[in-house]
């Protein structure tokens, strides 16, 4: 097979494997767009955030913090902690991207979201070694990127027309419940969740909206402690 044919085949199978996940991502992106406008962001800012940060849960959290007037520094710190999990994905992908050039590595890193990682790491773990798997990564990553940008745009467009009585902000909590509850499979994770939840309530009154950050850090420490016992 010619080189371009192999590359194209890899790219398309990356896109294809990403498709089932998009069914969950597209409503998520639309809800983000709606909430972003509700929190007072302009349409340009809301769309730019999807392109610049490109991380669903951090964007949801920022929109929520923005709505209650959180200082910029606290938003930056909280966003950083939420996105720390990407370091895990980076470490796990690294052995497979060694032979790539720096521009390719940078492109992979930009596209390394939860949903792209889940699909790509499965493919990398599959036995047959060949040199074109990064085209698969690009296909999966771009499929997700395009859907996220488009669904944000649709949400931003709709955001202007949804009445506040619809309680759409509640979808944020529901989305996080859906992401967290199925991962509570071991004692350490359960302890981390309980600790983070309790501290989030107790520390809600901390100045500069530092409660969230405190609760997250306590959850991480309690999780580590629970794992050792």
């Amino acid at each position: 097979m010619k080189h371009t044919q192999i590359v194209w085949r890899e790219f398309l199978s990356g896109v294809k494997d990403e498709l089932p996940i998009l069914a969950g991502v597209i409503p998520f992106g639309m809800i983000y767009g709606i909430l972003a406008l509700g929190a007072g962001l302009s349409t340009t800012e809301a769309q730019a955030m999807s392109a610049i940060i490109f991380a669903g849960s951090a964007q949801f959290m920022l929109v929520q913090l923005a709505g209650v007037g959180t200082p910029a520094l606290v938003m930056i710190l909280t966003g950083f902690v939420i996105n720390l999990r990407h370091a895990l994905y980076s470490a796990s992908i690294a052995p497979y991207t060694r032979q790539l050039t720096l521009p390719w590595k940078a492109l992979m890193a930009y596209l390394l979201t939860d949903e792209a990682y889940a699909v790509v790491i499965t493919y990398y773990h599959q036995g047959d070694e060949h040199k074109h798997k990064h085209w698969y990564f690009l296909g999966a990553g771009l499929a997700l990127w395009g859907s996220w940008q488009l669904s944000s745009a649709v949400g931003i467009f709709l955001g202007a027309q949804v009445p506040p009585g619809w309680s759409l902000d509640f979808t944020l909590a529901l989305t996080f419940i859906a992401l967290v509850i199925p991962t509570l499979n071991d004692r350490a994770s359960v302890l981390a969740a309980i600790a983070a939840g309790i501290i989030a309530i107790v520390a809600a009154g901390l100045p500069y909206k530092l409660g969230l950050l405190t609760a997250a850090l306590v959850g991480i420490v309690v999780g580590l402690w629970g794992e050792e016992r």
Binding site: P27, S57, A58, L62, M75, P95, Y110, V180, A192, G219
Partner: protein
């Protein structure tokens, strides 16, 4: 939101740095195992710290009574999340029960 562009760009750069970190560094630096283990608890801790106050204190103060419809709807959503492991069904169940509770109570 104060300084929206500055906040967005800084978080964007930090997120990119996190994502590229090990892809570029791994050959030279072995990650301490404590960091790898701690990272596993980041999503569960952060996301729980966000959603728990949304359920327990929707008006800003903790409210554990039947008047707190978001707590009831959230409880139903948790059961659905556990059973289905599916984001869409969880949102439908949570929003559906919130609408129904608002309608009847």
């Amino acid at each position: 939101m104060s300084y929206p562009w500055l906040v967005m760009i800084i978080i964007g750069v930090l997120t990119f740095a996190t994502r590229i970190s090990f892809i570029v560094l791994l050959e030279r630096w072995q990650t301490p195992s404590i960091i790898r283990r701690a990272l596993r608890f980041v999503p569960v801790s952060v996301l729980t710290a966000i959603f728990v106050p949304e359920l327990l204190s929707p008006e800003g103060v903790p409210d554990v009574s039947l008047n707190n419809l978001r707590l009831l709807a959230g409880g139903i959503a948790m059961l659905v999340a556990w059973k289905t492991k599916n984001v869409i069904w969880t949102i439908i169940a949570g929003m559906g029960s919130l609408f129904l509770l608002q309608w009847f109570l």
